[in-house]
């Protein structure tokens, strides 16, 4: 048998490195992962910007967006997003002429009931709702 220095040197180096470093795996959920900037997570719809054109619903490849009429608002209403169908391509953000839909870095969207996965921002329109409550709807 030949001796294969490449492997032996690597084995020793890897052993040393692994002894000094923390494991390659992540300790989720004890430690939350670092989400890079621009991650395509859960949507945020800024209803102030939305004009109700419905382009997001029309272009959505998964049929996840429905326009729901809201009294007192122009156009087709506001988008309601079913995260259970969403494929997170963010074509909606691309189609939106006003830039009202944006991805956030919220990655954990598990729910017991599929109905809880519907992202409905309409409560934000109520006068009593506080702005910036991005945990509303869905969670």
């Amino acid at each position: 048998m030949r001796i294969f220095p490449a492997l032996i040197v690597d084995a020793l180096r890897t052993l040393l490195r692994s002894a000094l470093r923390k494991p390659a795996t992540e300790k989720y959920p004890e430690e939350k992962p670092k989400i890079p900037e621009g991650f395509r997570g859960r949507h945020m719809v800024e209803l102030d910007k939305c004009v109700g054109c419905g382009l997001c619903a029309r272009d959505c490849p998964a049929g996840a967006i429905k326009m729901v009429k809201v009294p007192g608002r122009k156009g087709l209403g506001v988008p309601v997003i079913d995260l259970g169908r969403c494929i997170f391509c963010f074509q909606c953000a691309e189609s939106c002429p006003k830039g009202a839909i944006k991805p956030t870095n919220i990655y954990s969207m598990t729910a017991y009931d599929p109905g809880d996965l519907v992202l409905d921002f309409r409560p934000l329109l109520l006068p009593s709702a506080k702005k910036g409550q991005d945990e509303l709807g869905g969670q």
Binding site: M1, R2, F4, A6, L7, D10, T14, A24, P36, E37, G38, F39, R40, D59, C60, P61, A62, G63, R85, I87, F88, C89, F90, Q91, E94, S95, P103
Partner: protein, 563 residues
């Protein structure tokens, strides 16, 4: 498509035209060249054999890139996409719908690799290929009713019912004469990562023949694409294959952009190269890890997959997700990169290159790897061409062909660090080494593309409707040449989308490689073509539980699954 042609391309195109005119005479009704690298020829029904024979005599490396069957309403049409070096010549041939079924002559005698292509056309459209050695169904159940060909316009979807078919498992005729034994692997088997069925004829420990049955992961993508808009189809095509999603979305975008006559900004083209090469790294490292595992070298598998995380992280930084990138858009890319990100990516690539160089050394010297891969699964150069191999499988048999070099797209023409990884070994080891070399070249190319990123916008506005026309584009996917053909009819939905994935065309060469290998080497040989069966199976839904085949809008899938 690039207009700056390699020297001699125009004369090659002219030569092909002359050969066709001479061989066919009156039977060649029209010829048109679209750019320097695409040519379309209308030939009379039945003239394709003469045409291909004449072309093959002159162009020794002629391969069938794809065979598109399409239903035009009154008649069927077959499109033979022939790869002649730097350009694709498409022979358009009408096939009349006759009561006893449309019949054309098979070209398997000239190009043995056309075998599965013709079977797919038979299965989907009912075209009968006279002289085909084994014209059976390929994707639908073997006992699907006669005359049920789902891409025919007159066939109603959902007419195939549970009681009419059994789940796609045809009985195997075991003709065990003498020592030949039939060994069936799959569709469900611990050695397979995807559901496919292999029937091996084994003489003792040696494989003497192989039959493959695909279709277990069929999802109806080609049919579904006809019912959705161009924008929605982008995400559908991206999901043909999860691993090489950038190649699929890029090829789709290139084809639609060609139909639209759209010029993509320079910066977007460079970013497309970055995404496509990251995707290649991801796919190759995944395969090399799987190969190591198949060899019984689990440690190497763990190490390669650990280092693959670097690529996944880079993809996440670039596109916002680890696997499905959704980076390519019609008219450009979805987002720009900032200077900070470029530096971060370059730093991670340095670390990755060191690891890849090390793995190359391991694959070159390690006794386990060498013993399990060298001189196993031999595919000669002439067989690779005749059987229409693609990608690293072709290059490892000594053919210097790479779509990035011969038919450049995106910014590949401007990347100087690109070179093809051609190996002469023709065996499993050669195919793995070709991929390892490609990984290192990819790292160089990403670095160069990031350093020389031109300024400007990353996307241009496009229209939703596409004017009538047809286009064919190819991309060098990690597994080889990927072909998309799209015909538009002036609406916002395509009239036909044909996808020919590299694994599909690599199955015929695989059959050849398997001849003479030991049973224990089957998984390593199978892995050497980097098979991806989910992209090979498309076009129609087959519900294995009920045996019911159907095609529908994507919206309906969820509803059906919940039932």
């Amino acid at each position: 498509m690039s207009e700056a042609s390699a020297p001699g391309l125009a004369s090659e195109l002219e030569k092909a035209k002359e050969i066709l005119a001479e061989a066919l005479g009156e039977e060649l009704s029209s010829w048109s060249a679209a750019g320097a690298r695409r040519a379309w020829a209308d030939v009379a029904t039945g003239a394709h054999v003469k045409a291909i024979r004449a072309l093959k005599a002159e162009f020794s490396e002629l391969r069938l890139s794809g065979l598109t069957g399409t239903d035009l309403g009154d008649e069927l049409a077959l499109y033979y996409h022939l790869r002649l070096g730097g350009f694709i010549l498409t022979l358009r041939m009408p096939v009349p719908k006759s009561p006893d079924g449309p019949v054309v002559e098979s070209i398997t005698g000239l190009i043995p690799g056309a075998d599965l292509h013709e079977r797919e056309a038979f299965d989907m459209l009912g075209v009968i290929f006279k002289g085909h050695p084994d014209l059976r169904r390929l994707l639908l159940p073997d006992d699907a009713p006669e005359g049920f060909h789902p891409l025919r316009k007159e066939v109603e979807a959902r007419t195939l019912r549970a009681e009419e078919t059994t789940p796609i498992l045809s009985p195997v005729v075991t003709e065990e004469k003498g020592p030949i034994v039939t060994l069936i692997i799959g569709p469900q088997h611990p050695a397979l990562h995807e559901p496919e069925r292999f029937v091996f004829k084994v003489d003792g420990e040696v494989v003497v023949g192989m039959d493959i049955r695909i279709g277990y992961a069929h999802r109806g993508i080609e049919e579904a694409a006809e019912h959705r808009t161009y924008i929605q189809d982008l995400y559908l095509c991206e999901r043909v294959c999860g691993i090489c999603n950038v190649a699929h979305s890029l090829c789709y975008c290139l084809t639609v952009e060609e139909l639209l006559g759209l010029e993509v900004p320079k910066r977007a083209q460079f970013l497309r190269v970055v995404a496509a090469e990251l995707n290649r790294l991801h796919s190759h490292m995944l395969l090399l890890g799987v190969a190591a595992e198949e060899m019984g070298f689990t440690t190497l598998f763990m190490y390669i997959w650990r280092d693959r995380e670097v690529v996944m992280d880079l993809m996440e930084m670039l596109s916002g997700n680890r696997v499905i990138s959704s980076f390519n858009r019609i008219g450009g890319v979805s987002r720009d990169v900032g200077p900070g990100l470029v530096e971060k990516m370059k730093a991670r690539l340095l670390e990755l290159r060191k690891r890849l160089e090390h793995y190359k050394e391991v694959f070159e010297t390690d006794p386990t790897v060498l013993a399990r891969t060298r001189k196993i699964g031999y595919l000669s150069r002439s067989d690779a061409i005749d059987l229409c191999a693609a990608g690293p499988t072709l290059r490892a048999s000594g053919v210097d062909f790479d779509v990035r070099k011969d038919d450049p797209y995106a910014a590949y023409e401007e990347i100087s660090s690109f070179r093809t990884a051609v190996r002469k070994e023709c065996d499993n080891w050669g195919r793995y080494m070709a991929r390892l070399e490609e990984c290192l070249i990819s790292v160089d190319m990403i670095e160069e593309a990031l350093s020389e990123l031109p300024g400007g916008p990353v996307k241009v506005k496009t229209s939703r409707r596409v004017k009538p026309g047809e286009a064919v584009c190819t991309v060098e996917a990690p597994r080889g040449e990927l072909l998309y053909y799209i015909r538009s009819n002036g609406t916002d939905k395509p009239a036909r989308v044909k996808i020919r994935t590299p694994t599909f065309t690599n199955l015929a060469p695989l059959r050849k490689m398997m001849e003479g290998v030991y049973v224990a080497d089957i998984p390593v040989t199978l892995a050497s073509i980097d098979p991806c069966f989910s992209c090979t199976d498309r076009a129609l839904f087959v519900d294995v539980n009920t045996g019911e085949a159907w095609s529908c809008y994507i919206d309906e899938i969820g509803r059906r699954l919940r039932r």
